[in-house]
Symmetry: C2
DNA sequence: CGGACGATTTACAACGTTGCATTCCCGGTA
DNA sequence: TACCGGGAATGCAACGTTGTAAATCGTCCG
């Protein structure tokens, strides 16, 4: 592999002059510049990023920490972060936590200060104290009750959940269940609160189903239990589209009609939901906006130093489809 | 950030002795070892991977190049590669190509020899010549007609496609369409060949629908066209599960029953297919096996040098669900 | 007691790059 | 002619780590 030294030898100039050309330094005699450029091409020179970053104190990569790429929402988000990062000449290094506190702590620890310039992390189960030893710039995805001096990007989960439940109320549904409660997950708590509040505004309450994971399997099991209960719901609000997909399947298995007997609302706007039968009404966050905002915030924090912690609220909308209005 | 020098000063030994302790060198006096270890803890030392890799000539990361994380198959595969790579202490840096030749060439170029130790790439549209300038160890996912001295991992696409179509023939279907032909994509060609051959064995032919992308939208459009044609098929074999999802939706929109009027088979075994209504019969590749094999091959190639190009054939199975046997 | 030998530690250089300070060269000016 | 200023090029050091070879130490053997 060609180094600056090789190029310099070929062009008959010093290493530093080659470096200057590579870095676009203005004061290089046109003649030398030309010779260097030819030598660069001839040798196929590529800067050794390791060395450059060692010198510059940057790594040129950013970490993206998500629970699982198998979850469409995070896969899609990861793709968008990749795209946003490329605009900043950042490479992206992805880590999966499986949504466990242990996995998230590992990820934070592994992100030694020298392996990435910063991280975008979507924590599910972390406690405030877990961030104690963290060094580099960090941007959190999603709202969190953690009172940390960190940047946040995310939608208003309480309001989004209220929107979803109000939609069901507007359709005349009165027994509206929630699927997706989880003891350790911050977003679950917020969506649950939105559900409870919207119902309370109408003088109602509704059953709540907890899940272990946010997978289709869990949604199906929860829905089955609800439908088999003495007072089955006439609508369910699922905390993500995977749970909703499972719920729809469980309803179909029991011959329960959607939306006739039960209306279903999801959360995340996975593309799959638009193509299912019935298609899924869902809360659609602005994923591209989230990705862009997260990367932009991280860039600013990596560049400048003394910024106050910021929160970016990204918009969402309710996408109404067949699972609520057949 | 603490460096070896800081630790050495604190422990009262030379930098190299600290390095030796960090790297588990055997001959360090117990007393010194203890002092160094205490100093390591006290300073919170983390090796500077940039510097270490510069010295060792390794980067500690591997690149995974896929068309798009929004496609569930690649998202799932990426997750599995992440997991497999962690077992080798590799970080994974993901690049999206959007399935275009340009994107794939860019990815190859960006993978300078110094940014990753090697790459696992899932090429769709690359020509053999595009690999000319490529330096580092490379493992290709999927079969390719390219006659390159590179490692390959993948299933036998022709045989998988034959299996899918034979299944439809066994069910008595006689007009079996294929959805997913594409001029530039190697895997499309192979699945198409399997389709054609299986039909030929039964003395039949079937319509073929080309698509621009492998997305649900394209599957829906292709299916709509087939169903509206003068001789609609009684079965379709889709080259991936997204196309199949679109096809199912198009059928539902037209009141065409699946599998009553048309049977549908997909490819990839996305988890979504198991939960749809109807659930989707599909070819299920051993994704975890593919991920593991790819990373293992890459590891061997990074370690040793003079290996012949290898091909690993991973198994697949036909997963029969409601879309073919209601 | 001298030397040999292995255990242990260390100094030094190098990986490839870039910031800094220096040097060199030129025309223009006093 | 001596000096000045800025363009242009360069040498040197350093980023943090580790391989190599050499230095140091102690102990065992003859």
């Amino acid at each position: 592999m060609a180094t600056l030294k090789d190029v310099a030898a070929l062009a008959g100039v010093s290493v530093k002059t080659v470096s200057n050309v590579v870095n676009g330094y203005a004061f290089v005699k046109p003649d030398n510049r030309r010779r260097v450029e030819e030598a660069l091409v001839a040798t196929g020179y590529r800067p050794n990023l390791g060395a450059r970053n060692l010198r510059r104190g940057r790594t040129g990569s950013l970490a993206l920490v998500v629970p699982e790429l198998g979850i469409p929402y995070f896969a899609e988000l990861a793709g968008l972060v990749l795209r946003a990062a490329r605009a900043h000449d950042w490479n992206v290094l992805i880590q999966q936590t499986l949504g466990t506190r242990e996995g998230e702590r590992e990820a934070l620890a592994a992100l030694g200060p020298h392996v990435v310039d910063g991280a975008v992390i979507s924590p599910e189960a972390l406690r405030g104290t877990d961030f104690a030893g963290v060094s580099g710039p960090l941007v959190l995805l999603g709202e969190h009750p953690l009172d940390l001096p960190l940047d946040h990007v995310g939608i208003d989960n309480v309001e989004a959940a209220r929107t979803a439940v109000r939609h069901l109320l507007d359709l005349g549904r009165r027994r509206i269940a929630a699927i997706g409660a989880h003891p350790d997950r911050a977003t679950a708590a917020q969506r649950l609160r939105g559900h409870r509040e919207a119902l309370a505004d109408a003088g109602l309450t509704g059953p709540v189903a907890s899940v272990e994971h946010y997978h289709r399997r869990d949604g199906a099991a929860a829905m089955a239990a609800l439908l088999d209960s003495p007072e089955p719901p006439d609508a369910v609000f699922c905390f993500n589209d995977l749970l909703a997909a499972g719920a729809l399947r469980a309803a179909a298995d029991r011959g329960v009609r959607v939306p006739g007997d039960v209306a279903v609302v999801g959360f995340d706007d996975d593309e799959a939901g638009a193509y299912g039968s019935p298609s899924l009404t869902t809360i659609a966050p602005d994923k591209a906006g989230i990705a862009r905002a997260a990367v932009d915030l991280l860039r600013e924090r990596v560049d400048g130093r003394d910024l106050p912690p910021r929160r970016v609220r990204t918009p969402f909308r309710l996408r109404i489809r067949e699972s609520t209005v057949g």
